[in-house]
């Protein structure tokens, strides 16, 4: 019964400097995983590139990163790019981005439910949220059913999960809310240490049912760092990033030794923010 399935939105935060085929694979793997459980239905994927205020070394302008992500997802019918986070003048905690999208989905969902009660079918709106075109008609005939609320889950690789342990990078209360109220989908390679990492943290262990671990059997090590390195060395990145992204990078000469030096010596925004905050130095355990 499709109505019984929990709707899930996958949110990926990160630098996307540049976006690679590996990033795009995360979405596909997560979607397949949720589909196979039979309990969830992935309705949307969101790529949210971080703002320039993050101050990571080598981070080029958000405009380019957002544009490349959009080019990369042009052919996707369910993954889109959201630039809200990148437009903020200050760096935003991941949790705030999660909350923002959660709120957005909720209000869209409420609007949809209201529309269900109205006899006029507004298919346009529906299609944006649910790719299955038949659903609106079906709902119209049913008496209003309390459907479970769509969930927004943070999609990431094992590196992000393990970064929870980096001092002053995350606030403990943020991590708690992320895994408790939203959920994590972590894609990792076979033979990783993620399960052990979760085991060693009381907070993560407590909410392990909301931390979905997906194993990636096809080893895919296309990190943005390696892409930038290859570009600096004049090596090809063909077939590692979507061709439109490669063309865009080439046309705009985006990555160079100079661009890699951006923010050199600058402290990463969260580290700067939390260095003085006693809450963030709380151990993950």
């Amino acid at each position: 019964d499709p109505d019984r399935k929990t709707e899930v939105v996958l949110l990926a935060c990160g630098s996307f400097n540049p976006i690679t085929n590996m990033h795009l694979r995360l979405f596909e793997l997560a979607k397949d995983y949720f589909h196979e459980t039979g309990k969830y239905k992935v309705i949307k994927g969101i790529i949210s590139p971080v703002g320039d205020a993050y101050k990571k070394k080598g981070l080029i302008s958000a405009n380019h990163r957002v544009t490349m992500a959009k080019l990369a997802t042009k052919n996707s019918d369910w993954v889109e790019v959201d630039d809200w986070e990148s437009c903020q003048s200050e760096w935003l905690e991941t949790l705030k981005v999660l909350r923002y999208h959660h709120q957005k989905i909720l209000s869209a969902d409420v609007t949809n439910s209201l529309q269900d009660a109205v006899p006029i079918t507004k298919l346009g709106r529906k299609r944006k949220q649910e790719p299955n075109r038949h659903e609106p008609i079906k709902k119209k005939n049913q008496s209003p059913v309390v459907k479970s609320v769509p969930q927004v889950k943070l999609l990431c690789g094992s590196d992000m999960l393990e970064s929870f342990g980096v001092p002053n990078l995350w606030k403990l209360e943020d991590i708690t809310e992320i895994v408790e109220k939203h959920g994590l989908v972590c894609i990792s390679r076979a033979g990783n240490n993620v399960q052990k990492f979760i085991y060693e943290s009381d907070i993560l262990w407590r909410h392990k049912n909301n931390i979905h671990l997906v194993e990636e059997w096809i080893t895919n090590d296309i990190s943005s760092t390696k892409i930038r390195r290859a570009l600096r060395r004049g090596q090809s990145i063909r077939y590692l990033v979507p061709d439109v992204v490669r063309a865009y990078i080439e046309k705009n000469r985006l990555y160079s030794p100079e661009s890699e030096d951006r923010n050199a010596g600058v402290v990463l925004a969260p580290l700067q923010k939390y260095a003085s905050d006693p809450k963030s130095s709380q151990a993950l355990n």
Partner: protein, 307 residues
């Protein structure tokens, strides 16, 4: 570095490359790996479709030619890459019709201006030994080269543009090398799979370019083989630092399970697979229990279930 019998006026333009896999075909022991070796822009590569007359020296679009590695920098220029899908007669489990495999390779290479698919091998009635395929393409290259030589000899010599690497007085015969992964190299060990004289010719006369991933080093394997170590000057090892191990087997397995392969193989290839329903549980069972053709040829009395 070995000394080829002819002057080598070829220039290498880059060292290593990231691996770019296409896992859609199985072609015997050769996985379909496409790589781009250009450091300079695509424009530097002599273009098959180029309409501007090249200064003296062929924009040779003949046989694939790679030579790089720890040799002196700047010596070679890759002018072409050829993908040669194996014939259906190879008899490997799960091997779908060559018609599809060639079509998919063509789709995958649509955006490449220097790699092409050559269906010659797939069109042969019988399975063709790798060395014969190499010979065929080499002969084709030779033929093209000789006709170009005639052509340039009959024309007025043109002013060569400054600094152009191909503006040598004599058009140079390109070399043809077999491109493979480390797993392919290992198959030389498999009993009855290769004829020793074939290996000798492949490695000695033509040359091997072997792409291996970070952490694995085939040089030991080469050292342990008398035959290979004799020709190690002609075996070029390229380290692939950006791991991207998409095997065709995994792709087929994912497809049969209804899992996504998007971003692992080109969209155009995925569309083709869907449209023609290429990979199914049934296609996976093809040639099940059959012996690989090369094994069958070497020793016809072998238990057919051995593969």
């Amino acid at each position: 570095m070995g000394n080829p019998p002819w002057p080598l006026r070829l220039f290498r333009r880059s060292y290593r490359t990231p691996l770019s896999p296409f896992g859609t075909q199985t072609s015997g022991a050769v996985n379909f790996l496409a790589r781009s070796l250009l450091r300079a822009s695509q424009a530097d590569l002599p273009h098959a479709a180029s309409t501007t007359p090249a200064p003296q020296g062929p924009p040779s679009v003949t046989a694939g030619n790679r030579k790089f590695g720890r040799s002196p920098p700047g010596r070679y220029q890759v002018i072409e890459g050829i993908m040669s899908p194996v014939s259906d007669r190879y008899g490997k489990k799960g091997l779908v019709s060559a018609r599809h495999r060639v079509a998919m390779a063509k789709l995958a290479l649509e955006t490449s201006d220097w790699i092409r698919v050559d269906p010659w091998e797939s069109e042969q009635d019988t399975w063709t030994e790798t060395v014969k395929v190499l010979r065929h393409h080499y002969n084709e290259a030779l033929r093209a080269f000789q006709s170009k030589k005639e052509f340039t000899r009959n024309k007025h010599p043109m002013e060569s543009s400054a600094g152009d690497s191909l503006s040598c007085q004599q058009p140079v015969l390109p070399e043809l090398k077999l491109l493979c992964g480390a797993d392919f190299l290992q198959t030389f060990k498999t009993p009855n799979l290769w004829k020793e004289e074939d290996i000798k010719e492949i490695v000695g006369k033509f040359g091997l370019v072997c792409i291996s991933r970070a952490g694995s080093d085939p040089s030991q394997f080469i050292q342990e083989s008398d035959l290979l170590s004799k020709f190690q000057h002609n075996i070029f090892l390229v380290r692939e630092w950006i791991q991207n191990e998409v095997s065709a087997t995994q792709i087929r397995s994912a497809l049969c399970r209804g899992l996504s392969v998007k971003y692992l193989i080109p969209d155009s290839v995925i569309a083709y697979i869907v449209q023609h329903n290429v990979y199914t549980a049934e296609s996976e069972r093809r040639n099940e229990g059959h012996l690989l053709q090369p094994l069958r040829l070497q020793n016809p009395t072998i238990n057919p279930l051995r593969d």
